[in-house]
């Protein structure tokens, strides 16, 4: 049979056909053709990777560390990750059996789903949330089940919401706090009832804590620290956000050894290992990067404080995001849905934001504004948005 005799739809797998294209893409295409755009749409730090990290990676190249590393990652790096997690978040993991260095946290999410989900099993996803979770669940054969968190709860998950989403087919719950796009964080006391529900229904937890370092009001409380949770939790994190290393594509996943050895099978056949250059950079980031992280966190916190206050001054209601680098203000009083708001704002005032609806249930009526951009840009963006709101309310 020649390729041309395929019907168009037969050429592609059913699972990929069922995936909707990301709503963010459309905005990216629109914004990239325009001039003079101030973007609050970027989901990554505005800092360039600290120089010592870049330098260490260059040095690794010069010294010829350019071959494959062990599948799970350079052992020294895994040891540093273990030390870092224990020191910072009191979550000890065994570098030999429980940690895999991955190509970004994204790969970590992917191999976690593929290692744990059987066809038809449900994974509960908290929305508004990162756009990749549901597609990754579907590609792994699972069924994503969304919970839309509420503005009046500060976009935190409640135990009632979780209970209501659980069915006999539920296998796992995907959590992400601090959250993209809402910036919501959950304290130990708020997580405890969630853990009880998880225990009761014997579920797995996939905890994406990529924004853990970017917690501004309280110390981040890592999910596997909760009683009886470590053995059923897969902890995902990485270097992108805290160390400003998005383009390096370097993350890691920690899980009890039976799960991590299953994940390692997928990782070794699909990735072999993460980039050696990135791994040596990351090693430097963990060994000598603390001060830079703190400097960046202070700067994000100041800009968070600024944008939340400035939004309220121009009449936009916004809960105080406890972490990440996003504000998620409500635009309900304009009467526009978030797609329309974002589109008009871009056209009229050349400010790019991401409409809340692309982040799933509960996102409409909000826009995601990343404050990881210069104070000058933030101030201009606020001015422009103030003008826009005055015109449209």
């Amino acid at each position: 049979m020649t390729i041309s005799s395929f019907r168009q739809t037969d050429r592609l797998s059913k699972s990929v056909q069922n995936i909707k294209p990301s709503g963010i893409r459309r905005f990216f295409d629109m914004a990239s053709t325009m001039e003079n755009v101030i973007s609050l749409g970027v989901g990554e730090p505005d800092f360039v990777t600290p120089w010592n990290v870049r330098e260490a990676s260059i040095a690794s190249m010069e010294r010829g560390y350019t071959s494959y590393t062990s599948n799970a990652g350079v052992f020294e790096l895994r040891e540093e990750i273990a030390r870092y997690l224990d020191d910072r978040f009191s979550t000890p993991y065994d570098p030999e059996k429980e940690i895999i260095v991955t190509v970004g946290a994204s790969e970590a999410i992917d191999i976690t789903m593929r290692a744990t989900i059987n066809p038809g099993e449900e994974v509960v996803i908290i929305e508004p949330g990162f756009v990749a979770y549901a597609p990754i669940v579907s590609l792994a054969g699972g069924v994503p089940v969304s919970i839309g968190t509420k503005k009046e709860n500060g976009f935190k998950l409640t135990k009632e919401e979780l209970e209501a989403a659980i069915t006999p087919n539920t296998k796992a719950v995907m959590l992400c706090f601090p959250n993209n796009p809402t910036g919501a964080v959950m304290t130990k006391d708020e997580l405890l009832p969630i853990a009880e529900v998880i225990q009761k229904h014997n579920l797995l937890v996939i905890s994406d804590e990529i924004y853990a370092e970017l917690s501004y009001d309280n110390e981040h409380y890592s999910f596997p620290r909760l009683p009886n949770m470590r053995d059923r939790t897969i902890l995902i994190s990485g270097f992108s956000k805290a160390f400003a290393m998005t383009g390096w594509r370097l993350g890691f996943v920690c899980a009890p050894s039976d799960i991590s050895s299953a994940m390692l099978k997928i990782h070794q056949y699909t990735m072999m290992c993460a980039s050696s250059l990135a791994q040596y950079g990351a090693l430097e980031a963990l060994q000598n990067g603390r001060e830079e992280v703190e400097r960046m966190v202070t700067s994000y916190r100041q800009r968070r404080n600024f944008i939340v206050k400035a939004f309220s001054e121009i009449g936009m209601s916004c809960h105080v995001p406890g972490g990440a680098f996003y504000a998620f203000p409500s635009i309900e009083k304009t009467g526009m849905d978030s797609e329309k708001f974002a589109e008009e704002l871009l056209k009229e005032e050349q400010v790019a934001v991401v409409p809340g609806n692309v982040f799933g249930e509960g996102g409409d009526g909000h826009i995601r504004c990343s404050y990881a951009t210069s104070m000058d840009s933030l101030q201009t963006a606020i001015e422009r948005m103030g003008r826009f709101l005055e015109k449209h309310s």
Binding site: S22, F28, S32, S39, G43, E44, Q302, A310, A352
Partner: protein, 165 residues
């Protein structure tokens, strides 16, 4: 010093022109309170002055030279280096003066219009001081970075894509 005051100080050190209302928002404090913190910092002479960082190499009208001079001196009983230091920093052409450890004692930064003007200053004024034993003058050829700011046309464009998840 309380944390917020320290934070205000750091913000102003980075950008002396940042206005009170912006600082107040950033440190989550009332404007009045921030203003009084700044007043205090100025009164206590912790904030000594506000100035722009200028890259004079881009200004055609100015043909100045800057030199760093290592100075060895004999400290004096009772006053140590302070007296001779004062005699040196009172010259208006002295931009900066530091007491340093190592092979010499004082590090003098001086601005002049020409090299000979600086040479004159060294031979006529600096070396003529009783306690000065020796001087070594280094002329500055190029400024790469000053006060934490990179000079020249560094490519600091935002290289990120416009919208990303």
């Amino acid at each position: 010093m309380e944390n917020k005051k320290l934070e205000v100080l750091r913000l102003l050190e980075e950008n002396g022109r940042m206005d009170v209302s912006t600082i107040a928002k950033m440190v989550d404090e009332k404007e009045k309170k921030v203003q009084s913190m700044i007043d205090e910092l100025e009164e206590e002479n912790i904030i000594v002055s506000y100035a722009a960082v200028v890259d004079w190499s881009k200004v055609n009208e100015r043909e100045g030279v800057t030199a760093m001079i290592d100075v060895k001196v004999t400290p004096q009983r009772g006053v140590g280096f302070d007296e001779v230091a004062e005699r040196i920093y009172r010259f208006p052409e002295v931009k900066a003066l530091y007491l340093v450890s190592g092979a010499y004692d004082l590090s003098v930064v001086i601005d002049g219009n020409t090299m000979s003007e600086i040479a004159n200053f060294v031979s006529e004024k600096l070396s003529a001081l009783d306690s000065v034993i020796s001087t070594t003058t280094h002329f500055r050829l190029k400024t790469y970075k000053h006060d934490g700011v990179v000079f020249g046309d560094e490519d600091d464009d935002d290289k990120r894509i416009v919208v990303a998840p």
